[in-house]
Each structure stands twice: as structure tokens, then as C-alpha cells.
């Protein structure tokens, strides 16, 4: 191993350690790590820029703009109240409904955005019914991570995978991950409903009060809603057709975002741009450059070589290994840097003789996305909801969440193991 490679590993591990400890903001650390790789000459600036995946960044930015404008319309509040009324104000059924809405939202929007839209209306509904909001919040955390697994645009690991591997199109994700994600979602919500069934009771009077709500009044701007829904529909349609049209997913998302801005006018330009999570965008940039140091010095190839040696190049063992390692790792560390490291490693495995990489990619996606449900620090949505809940006087402790969510995550990965084995490996 060259001196350059040893330095690259050192920079990578120190950066990773700081990201895990969360003492300094992860964006600052990732950018500092990436810049260090360039400053030390491990990777040149031109090469570093070449490694930044602008498709991932464009897709994230475009969707953030669309969501920022759509959230102004009151659409999510309308849907949540309508769903609560459709199930006659029964808290147990509302738990199920809000879980499914969160999963559907997360399938097409960023998980953090989805929970940020769902949590306020959840507090509102549970306060009206005078039931404990914690079962609802835990269900929404779990549903958002499962929903995000089901599409190319649902979760950053999938966005990165779809961008890095040409064959993994939007439709490929739908065909391979949506049904299994929905199945896992139903199993998880059914178990959560059973666990919390005793806490989810309210009076007939409070149910009647909820049934009397006028959800239509929640729509604050009908013209903006029509424009937002038009752009969102065109964008989602674009995702379904992007392979056929030979355009990248980032082009679709950015086209949708700027179509919406064209329709709404300048008024929303500054507002929506200010809501783009630039910290997340720069976190990605830092990581791409950081991992490029490992790629350019041959460290990733060495790791791939070692992994292939460990599993004897057998697709089945390698897939299951990737699934479980990704899940356990993602339960404790950020799945974005993990996936950023794994993608080039799996690509190298292809060059080392594993010809069928498809089960490996799906194993990585399922493991990295669903693994986030294992602990309270496993995914950004978990941390955000726990933070909001604690601030509002309903703390979700690490232990309380672990006790419920970790077994559910293990169950989900067992289901995925069977799925991967039966669908791709027999």
C-alpha cells in the first residue's frame, strides 16, 4: 500500500470518527475532510470535481424547491385531517393512516421534509383526541424510512445509487423495491398498532369534535396548490419516463422546480431557495471528494478485493453480507457516507469477477435505508422527530426507541434476506 493510500485512509477515518461523534456539524467535517484530501495532493482539484455527483445534488435541490413551495399550501394538513375523518376519528386507525401517508410522502419527498410536515399536524390531531403523541411519532419515523426505501428519490442512499449505476432507473426501483417496502411497512404498522393499542383510546365526544373539522379550510392558497400539484405531477411523471426520454433524474427534478417557479413568479424564488438545505448539499460534496481520495489511491479496490476473497466471490454470500452489514452499520452511523464508500467498492467487485451485481445493489439499498430504523440516531428523520418531541415535552429516549424499533428493523432485514434470496439468488 502506498504512502498516499495510508494518508487517505487516515484522513477518511478521522473525518468519519468526527461525523459519528457529532461534536462538530457533519457538513463542516465532511467538507474539511474533502478539502484535506485536495490540500495533501491525494486527489487533484479537477479530479475531485469530477467525483462530485452533480446528478445527486441536482435531484436533491430540485425536490427541495418543489417541497418548499408546496408546503405553503396547507396540502399536508388537509390530507392528514381528511384521513383522520375518513377513519371516524379512531386513534388506532389514525395511527395506521398517518403511517401510510408518511410512507407515501417519503417515497416521493425527502424523509426529513415529510416528517417536518407530518409532526405538527400529528400534535394537533393527538391533542384534539387527548391521546399520547409518541406512538404516532415513532410510527411516522419508521414509516418515513420504509417509504423512502421504496423509490429512487425517497432516500439519499437510493438517489446516490440511481445516480451511480445507469441500470438502476426510477422504474427499476419501483419494480424491485416498492412492493417489498410496502409489505414491510404493513408488518411494521400492524406490530406497532398491537403494541400501542391500549394507549390509543379516546372519548366519543372528542371524536365528534374531530369529525366536525373543516379540512377544506386548511388549503390556504388554491391557485398555488394547483400550480404546485401540476409541477409535482409533471415531475413524478418525468421520473417514471426518464429512462425512456434519456434524461437524468436531476434534470427532471430541476425542470419541475423551475416550472413551478415560472408559474409562481419571483415572489417564491428567494423563499424557496432559502429553504434548500444547503448544509446537506455541501455534506454530499465533502463526502464525494473524501471518498474520491480512497478511490484514486486504490483503497476501495483493495477493500473490494478483500470482500470478494472473504465470500469466495459468491453472489449469494456477498449480497447477504452487504444487506446485514449495511443495516447494522446504518443503525448506528450515517447511511450517506456508508453508501458513498460502498458504491465504488461494489463497482470494483464487478471487475473482480462478480458478474451479477443487481442483488448487491438492492441489498445495499434495503440495508442502508431500513437499517436507519434500528436506533434513534440511525437516520436524520429519527433525530429530527425526537428533537421536536423532546422540545414539546414528549421525550422519546434512545432506550425506549431501541426497544421497539431495533427488533422491528431486524425483522425487516430478515424479510429482505428472504426476498433477496428468493428473487435474485435461486
Amino acid at each position: 500500500m502506498s504512502t498516499q493510500a495510508i494518508i487517505a485512509i487516515g484522513v477518511f477515518l478521522i473525518t468519519y470518527a468526527f461525523i459519528v461523534t457529532e461534536k462538530i456539524h457533519r457538513t463542516i467535517i465532511a467538507m474539511a475532510g474533502g478539502i484535506t484530501m485536495v490540500l495533501l495532493g491525494i486527489v487533484g482539484q479537477e479530479k475531485a470535481l469530477h467525483h462530485i455527483d452533480f446528478n445527486t445534488l441536482g435531484l436533491l435541490t430540485g425536490m427541495m424547491i418543489i417541497v418548499a413551495i408546496t408546503s405553503e399550501t396547507g396540502l399536508f394538513k388537509y390530507i392528514a385531517i381528511l384521513a383522520a375523518k375518513k377513519v371516524k376519528g379512531d386513534p388506532l386507525k389514525i395511527l395506521l393512516a398517518l403511517g401510510i401517508i408518511t410512507a407515501l410522502g417519503s417515497a416521493f419527498l425527502d424523509n426529513v421534509t415529510t416528517v417536518l410536515l407530518m409532526v405538527p399536524v400529528t400534535f394537533s390531531i393527538t391533542r384534539q383526541l387527548r391521546v399520547n403523541p409518541i406512538p404516532f411519532l415513532i410510527t411516522e419515523i419508521i414509516a418515513s424510512n420504509i417509504g423512502g426505501t421504496s423509490t429512487l428519490i425517497g432516500d439519499p442512499p437510493n438517489i446516490m445509487l440511481g445516480s451511480a449505476v445507469k441500470e438502476l432507473t426510477f422504474m427499476a426501483f419501483i419494480n424491485n423495491l416498492t412492493a417489498i417496502s410496502f409489505f414491510i411497512l404493513l408488518i411494521n404498522i400492524a406490530i406497532l398498532s398491537f403494541i400501542y393499542r391500549r394507549q390509543l383510546k379516546t372519548s366519543a365526544e372528542l371524536k365528534a369534535s374531530l369529525m366536525d373539522l373543516d379540512e377544506k379550510e386548511e388549503i390556504t392558497d388554491k391557485r398555488l396548490l394547483i400550480k404546485s400539484l401540476t409541477s409535482l405531477t409533471v415531475t413524478i411523471l418525468g421520473f417514471f419516463l426518464h429512462q425512456l426520454l434519456h434524461i437524468e433524474s436531476a434534470t427532471v427534478a430541476l425542470a419541475g422546480a423551475f416550472l413551478l417557479l415560472l408559474l409562481t413568479g419571483e415572489e417564491y424564488l428567494d423563499k424557496s431557495f432559502s429553504k434548500v438545505e444547503w448544509t446537506t448539499i455541501f455534506f454530499f460534496i465533502g463526502l464525494f471528494v473524501l471518498v474520491s481520495g480512497l478511490i484514486e489511491t486504490g483503497v476501495i479496490s483493495l477493500l473490494a478485493d478483500y470482500s470478494v476473497h472473504l465470500t469466495g466471490g459468491d453472489v449469494a454470500s456477498t449480497s447477504i453480507l452487504i444487506l446485514w452489514v449495511s443495516a447494522i452499520a446504518s443503525a448506528f452511523i450515517d447511511n450517506i457516507p456508508f453508501v458513498a464508500t460502498m458504491i465504488p467498492m461494489i463497482k470494483d467487485m464487478g471487475e473482480l469477477g462478480i458478474h451479477n451485481l443487481e442483488p448487491l445493489w438492492w441489498s445495499l439499498s434495503l440495508g442502508a435505508c431500513l437499517g436507519g430504523n434500528g436506533t434513534l440516531i440511525g437516520a436524520s428523520a429519527n433525530v429530527i422527530v425526537a428533537g421536536l418531541a423532546a422540545k414539546e415535552g414528549h421525550p422519546i429516549t434512545f432506550g425506549k426507541f431501541l426497544l421497539i424499533a431495533f427488533p422491528l428493523m431486524i425483522l425487516s432485514i430478515v424479510i429482505c434476506t428472504i426476498y433477496i434470496y428468493v428473487r435474485y439468488l435461486i
Partner: protein, 92 residues
């Protein structure tokens, strides 16, 4: 010291009662123009970073239910006043 308020009963009807640890307001607006003003009060609380300060529920026929957390009671009253939904507020 607590806040006492008065309003124009031709334009608005406002009843408050205890709801657990919170205060619950039932508001009826007799003038559609006032809807925008009440929306501004809601927006004020929506825009801050506290999610459980007030819970705002819209019922048919310009009826509103607002559950206000005890520690946000005065702020809520002040916001109603600033939107001219209340005529007068004073410490008693």
C-alpha cells in the same frame, strides 16, 4: 396579574375554558373579513419554532377552536389584539 379583554360582540364571539393544563378558546366570526386576521394570528404561531404553543382547528360556519398552552396565553391574547380582533386588553 392577569389579562382582561373585551371585543365587539357584533363581529366576534369568544369563549374560553380550561382544557386540562391548557386554555381552550371557541371563536365565532360574524364577519368574513375577520378570517384573514385570525389567519394572521395562526401564522404568527406557525412561524415560530414551537409546535404545541397553540393548536388551531377550523370548524364549519366560521367557528374556530384554539387550544392554547398556558405559557402562551398572554401572547395569544396580544396577537388577537394586534389584529384588532379584541378592542381592549388590560392587566387586572
Amino acid at each position: 396579574m392577569r389579562v382582561e379583554y373585551s371585543y365587539d360582540s357584533k363581529l366576534i364571539q369568544l369563549n374560553e375554558s380550561a382544557n386540562g393544563d391548557d386554555i381552550e378558546f371557541f371563536i365565532t366570526l360574524y364577519d368574513n373579513e375577520l378570517k384573514k386576521k385570525l389567519m394572521q394570528v395562526r401564522k404568527y404561531f406557525d412561524d415560530n419554532k414551537v409546535l404545541t404553543d397553540i393548536h388551531y382547528y377550523i370548524h364549519p360556519n366560521n367557528n374556530y377552536q384554539v387550544i392554547v398552552r398556558n405559557d402562551f396565553y398572554n401572547e395569544f391574547i396580544i396577537q388577537l389584539f394586534s389584529q384588532q380582533l379584541l378592542k381592549e386588553i388590560k392587566w387586572v
